[in-house]
Amino acid sequence: MRLGFFKRAAPAVDACELGRTVVALTLPAGSAPPSGCQAVVVGTDGRTRRLQAARRIEAREGETAYAFHPGPYTADLQPFETAPEIGLRTSFAIDAPDPQASQQRFDLYLSSEVTVRLELAALAAAIEAALRHELATGGLELPPCTTLDEWNAFRQGLNQLLYMRFGVTVDDCVPVDLGDTRDYARELGQRAQAAPEPAPVTEEARPAAAERFEPALEDAKALRRLFLELPCLMCGLRLAAMPAAQEQFHRQQALLQRLDLVSVGVNAMPALALAAPGQALPVDEQLRRARHSRRACVSLDEAWALLARLRQAGEAALAQLYGEAERIVANLEADCAGRRSVSSDEETP
């Protein structure tokens, strides 16, 4: 009989990219986290724990172990889709764990949105999408001829947004001219050449398998996010803004109650492919359900961004932010109801 503790810790596979192009990576149980990395174990129920200074990763049956490198990482974000030659060079890191939080936000991000490995490019794309959405909806302001005050306000908002949404800390962020690497004129020229021939939509124009909308896959991912993140959101909402007046207290309570109901509804969501037990649902209705669950995830992203704004909002802005919260919760309710319904005609006219 061989005892486990005589085994040498196996070196992690292709861990050398960690900290450069890869942010986090699953590790086989029993291996050692690469030097400079920390380890997070994600259970089947989404619960996470950090392994402090572990020599070897101990994971139980069904648990997944991730090693992540705290960084720092640098990415060029393009804040506006129609302005490709101006960017924000952002460097960020995954900070030391916040001792006050029961669960680190980055660990939640790993458990709810990451499968197998988190590439730096994927994380930067997600950050860029979150930034663009906030700029488009007015949560962050970055207007032309930005003044110093506006820039400082933007930076604070960005720091808070990225911490609340991804659990990363922004070290530095400066506007840069991306003209060295991107040529807008050439991009427009390529679009002009691509446009006149709409005929060959046959082979190459069709999106690759990975980009195609797979209802079952997307729906499962979205429901997992809702299941894991809604309780944390409610917790965040309780902590974020202390209601100042009785009326605000009632609004907050009402919001929490509605979120609670949504959360219960998500936990008891019917299977995507079934209209009733043993009765299959047509494919186009499955597609509709998957679209609803994906839209619910958009509301989830908006809710994290709103929490970030609540954290730094003054008394005066609270009323407007509560209005925004009511919109987001209403959208969540509508999409969860749509995900549950069997056909789109169920809505009363």
């Binding site: 129609t82 101006i86 007015g138 032309p144 001829c145 110093l148 001219d177 807008y184 004129a185 839209r295």
Partner: protein, 336 residues
């Protein structure tokens, strides 16, 4: 607060016109969009589809509203010009556009989900204040607030400027469209001013446009010799030089070199040294500020010369902020 009812007229090629009426009310678990066309349920279905597709280009969604749209009579067979009127009415009634943004519109599209407007059905007839879809008019829904189409091969951006006559003058706009400049391998570098055209303008204005743009592009450093540009102005007469800053900013937006405002960019300013990026002062502080207070909406960005900072009416900036717009008095263009 936005009104609950909005009307948008749709003139037709035969001289008649349809009226699209949109109303908004709390949704109470009903469908998000309801459409009705007299004696034509199929067309009502098509209208609902058009609206849902066009809504995909909006940044945020509010499921608490129900919008009901109707057309006062059935459009002629094959007529599609009502599509743009319906889309604009749907946006106006939810406050995404100013309620007076489009009193009359005609346009159709095969790609509403990308915000593109392909054309209109009015033929050559152009009368009055009609928003016409398609090239030369409104090729993309975002252009209503000056934004470029992210999928088009030509990048067009608009900026607005308060007219000098102020009180009843209203706003004018300038649109810059840039095409990549095709240049053969052996060809010499072209003079920047030769690549800038301003059709429908007199010779003096054309010259001014060319000089301003080539000066500002010189300041940019990465703009010379890459673009072929077309500059268009809104209809109506105007004098003076205060449109220059709007032109320069529209050009920077079109070339993808500056941050994009959420709403419209409204600017007033000129310069004797655009090649240094400097912004000089212009006349008419008080009438223009009064006009800006009436016109500014959520997300609008207002740029004024630095010299105006001390002359602004009391509470001007706060009032703008209440309306959702932001103000900056600048002495140079570019970041900070």
């Amino acid at each position: 607060m936005t009104p609950d009812t909005v009307r948008c007229r749709c003139p037709l090629a035969d001289g008649a016109s349809l009226t699209v009426t949109a109303t908004r009310r709390p949704r109470m678990n009903r469908a998000d969009v309801k459409c009705s066309v007299p004696d034509d349920a199929r067309l009502a279905g098509r209208m609902q589809q058009v609206l849902r597709l066009a809504r995909l280009t909006e940044a945020s969604f509010d499921s608490r509203d129900q919008v009901v749209l109707s057309i006062d009579r059935r459009p002629p067979e094959g007529e599609r010009g009502w599509e743009l009127a319906a889309v604009l009415a749907d946006r106006m009634v939810r406050g995404l556009l100013r309620p007076d943004a489009a009193l009359a519109a005609n346009g159709w599209s095969d790609a509403w989900e990308r915000g593109r407007v392909d054309g209109h059905t009015l033929g050559a007839m152009q009368a009055g204040d009609i928003v016409l879809g398609g090239p030369g008019g409104l090729p993309h829904l975002g252009l209503l607030s000056g934004h470029a189409d992210p999928s088009a091969a030509v990048s067009s951006a608009r900026a607005w400027f308060p007219l000098h006559s102020g009180v009843e003058g209203g706003m004018g706009w300038v649109e810059v469209s840039v095409h990549p400049l095709a240049r053969g391998a052996g060809q010499d570098a072209v003079e920047e001013e030769q690549t800038i055209a301003a059709p429908d303008q007199d010779a003096a204005r054309q010259l001014a446009v060319r000089q301003v743009l080539s000066g500002a592009r010189h300041f940019d450093g990465r703009a010379l010799g890459r673009w072929r540009s077309v500059v268009r102005f809104s209809a109506g007469e105007f004098a003076g030089r205060s449109w220059e800053l709007a032109l320069v900013m529209a050009d920077r937006l079109a070339r993808g070199r500056d941050f994009v405002p959420r709403g419209r960019l409204i600017a007033s300013g000129c310069s004797s040294a655009w090649h240094a990026g400097r912004v000089d002062t212009v006349d008419g502080v008080n009438p223009k500020c009064a006009l800006l207070l009436r016109e500014a909406g959520p997300g609008d960005r207002i740029l004024l010369p630095r010299a105006w900072q001390e002359q602004l009416p009391a509470g001007f900036a706060e009032q703008l902020r209440m309306q959702g717009a932001s103000l900056a008095c600048v002495e140079r263009i570019g970041i900070i």
